[in-house]
């Protein structure tokens, strides 16, 4: 019983303390930011705020939500996340179901598989993609933010592996009763894979919410800019030229910057416990390794 020996006990104490410190270090920056956002401007600007708000006020939040640019960007992000996720799930689950069939039932399966996987290995790159969006006339549209990344080949493979794990007998029974592939997909595969579908949806949602680069290059009008791109421009690049100066002037104050970052990260903070549980179970790893 090694864990009752003295050297191991001493090691354990240090180990627990070390792990606790490391894990606190992982959340400290977010906590510090949150405290800055809850503080008054003067102490925040003077760098006095550490891990507790000084001169507690919600002013930063009222100002952030009072900003028309911020609100329109927030709405664009909600739109792209909801629409983009819904469309992606319809397209990806349908493709994954078809591709989950063995090559001897669905002969073209392997051809399709390679057709999709090649795009994981090689891409045209940034500039040809930009020219394509330009030529399609999608600049400044929501479609430019949703369509290019709609088919996530990795997600299709993930879903496909889940569908493969569904017992074949269920489908055979449905076929006996006269159901077709589409019926089997909707009535058997989708309901039975609900946990997997929920998880992949969450991934796509997080991806959409965090995506900033497409907005940066495809969206030229400030009111169509998604929130992540808006924050990238205002906070990270500190570039106010795209906006009406009178409207965004106070957005660069430290407490308001902090409140924007916190609001931007809030949806992620709310869903990640669900995502991480999924990983801890090792389902993804198991699914990918087959």
């Amino acid at each position: 019983m090694y864990h009752k020996t003295l050297p191991y006990r001493i090691f354990s104490i240090f180990n627990y303390a070390f792990l606790a410190i490391i894990s606190v270090l992982c959340v400290l920056p977010m906590l510090h930011l949150f405290m800055v956002s809850l503080s008054s401007q003067a102490p925040a600007n003077a760098g006095l705020v550490k891990l507790w708000p000084i001169g507690f006020t919600l002013e930063a939040y009222t100002k952030t939500f009072g900003n028309a640019n911020f609100l329109s960007s927030l709405w664009v992000s909600v739109e792209r996340t909801v629409l983009g996720t819904a469309l992606a799930m319809v397209v990806n689950t349908a493709a994954a179901y078809a591709l989950s069939k063995e090559a001897h039932t669905f002969r073209a399966r392997n051809i399709y598989m390679w057709y999709f996987v090649i795009t994981m290995l090689f891409t045209g790159g940034l500039i040809p993609s930009y020219i394509l969006i330009l030529k399609l006339g999608l600049i400044n549209t929501l479609a430019a933010l949703i369509l290019p990344g709609l088919v996530g080949v990795y997600n299709v493979i993930l879903l496909l592996n889940f569908f493969r794990a569904v017992p074949k007998d269920l489908e055979e029974a449905a076929f006996m009763d006269g159901a077709g592939y589409l019926r089997s997909f909707i009535s058997i595969y989708l309901p039975i894979s609900l946990p997997a579908i929920a998880t992949v949806s969450l991934f796509i949602m997080v991806g959409h919410w965090n995506a900033y680069f497409d907005g940066l290059i495809y969206i030229k009008e400030s009111e169509n800019l998604p929130l992540a791109s808006f924050m990238q421009t205002i906070i990270v690049q500190a570039d106010m030229t795209k906006f009406d100066p009178s409207l965004v002037a106070n957005l660069s104050q430290r407490t308001i910057r902090a409140s924007q970052i916190f609001i931007g990260a809030l949806p992620i903070l709310m869903v990640y416990p669900f995502l991480q549980r999924f990983f801890v179970k090792g389902i993804v790893i198991g699914a990918v390794k087959e």
Binding site: G124, G125, P128, I157, Y181, V280, K289
Partner: protein, 316 residues
């Protein structure tokens, strides 16, 4: 549909052996793949054809079909350009440092976490260390720029403890490189432990019981059972990482860099964005990113072959 079914049935009865093969018409399966196939064609395959721009002097007015061909001009220019060699080196440096650190630290962290017997404590630690992985580099860029500023909390802390002068983390080449590697490890180490924890869970407990009977200390058990059990998965992860040696993480660099440290901080991807897209040198930019894509493709194929050969790893 009816006709199709009868034809297939006829075929099936005609064959010698009734296989278990379903005789359902498969056109519906084609139809289900179709939307994805079309989208991939438009947004992945069409841009691939756009790489011919790398061999042209692309002019927007003339388009891809009308622009003059210039052969390997852009590639020649690229290899003679000292700055290109610098950013290639930067890319390799960042990517390789991150690959090594992101294997080593999670490996050690998983070993330490494995010694935690209190499940609640273990789960809390995991929840905490996974958090940064889910935050975007825009969020983290905003936080880090604030925290690493001359008057930011980190410089305040260092000044009060060590009495040092404020460090210009994002404005000095050396400190920038350190910040990039450190912040990437900070963001990803927790998440990267998952794969090791999964491997640890798969170790046969009988091995430990036998070692216990033989009087092996926990340290010896770790040395002779735990670590050897983690070697195969470590080799797989390291091999697969080979495909990433030219991926230094655009999002991270882009959200943290500035003109002061381009010499030490600029990477191929950020260069393509700035010099290719922003300044409108479309053909040159495409040539640079084509160079990167081709090398990456070769590395990915090689790494997957190796992983399959050594560990039987398959992605699908």
């Amino acid at each position: 549909m009816d006709m199709n079914t009868t034809q297939q049935t006829a075929l099936n009865t005609g064959s010698h052996k009734m296989t278990k093969r379903s005789n359902k018409p498969t056109w519906i399966l084609h139809l289900m793949v179709l939307p994805a196939a079309i989208l991939v064609f438009i947004f992945s395959y069409l841009p691939m054809s756009g790489i011919v721009m790398a061999f042209q002097d692309y002019k927007a007015a003339l388009g891809i079909t009308g622009s003059p061909w210039v052969g390997l001009k852009h590639f020649q220019y690229m290899f003679q350009n000292e700055y290109f060699l610098q950013i290639t080196w930067n890319t390799l440096f960042f990517a390789c440092s991150k690959i090594v650190m992101n294997l080593l630290i999670p490996f050690i962290f998983a070993l330490l976490l494995n010694e935690v017997r209190h499940m609640g404590f273990k789960r809390s630690i995991q929840t905490f260390v996974y958090l940064p992985h889910f935050l975007s580099w825009v969020t983290l860029g905003g936080i880090l720029i604030d925290m690493l500023a001359q008057t930011g909390i980190i410089n305040q802390f260092l000044t009060s403890i060590f009495g040092t002068k404020p460090i210009f983390f994002l404005g000095d080449g050396f400190w920038f490189r350190l910040t990039i590697i450190f912040s990437d490890v900070w963001k990803e180490f927790g998440f990267n432990t998952i794969i090791f924890l999964a491997a640890l869970a798969g170790i046969n407990p009988a091995l430990y019981e036998a070692a216990e009977v033989d009087g092996a200390s926990r340290f010896k058990q770790t040395l002779y059972i735990t670590i050897p059990s983690l070697i195969p998965i470590t080799i797989v992860v390291a091999t697969l990482a080979l495909g990433n040696v030219l991926n230094a993480n655009f999002d991270q660099i882009f959200n943290l860099y500035n003109p002061l440290i381009y010499q030490q901080g600029d990477i191929i991807d950020t260069f393509v964005y700035r010099e290719g897209l922003l300044t409108g040198q479309f053909s040159f930019g495409t040539a640079v990113s084509l160079f990167k894509s081709v090398i990456s493709l070769i590395l990915i194929v090689v790494s997957y072959r190796l992983a399959y050969k050594f560990a039987g790893y398959r992605i699908f």
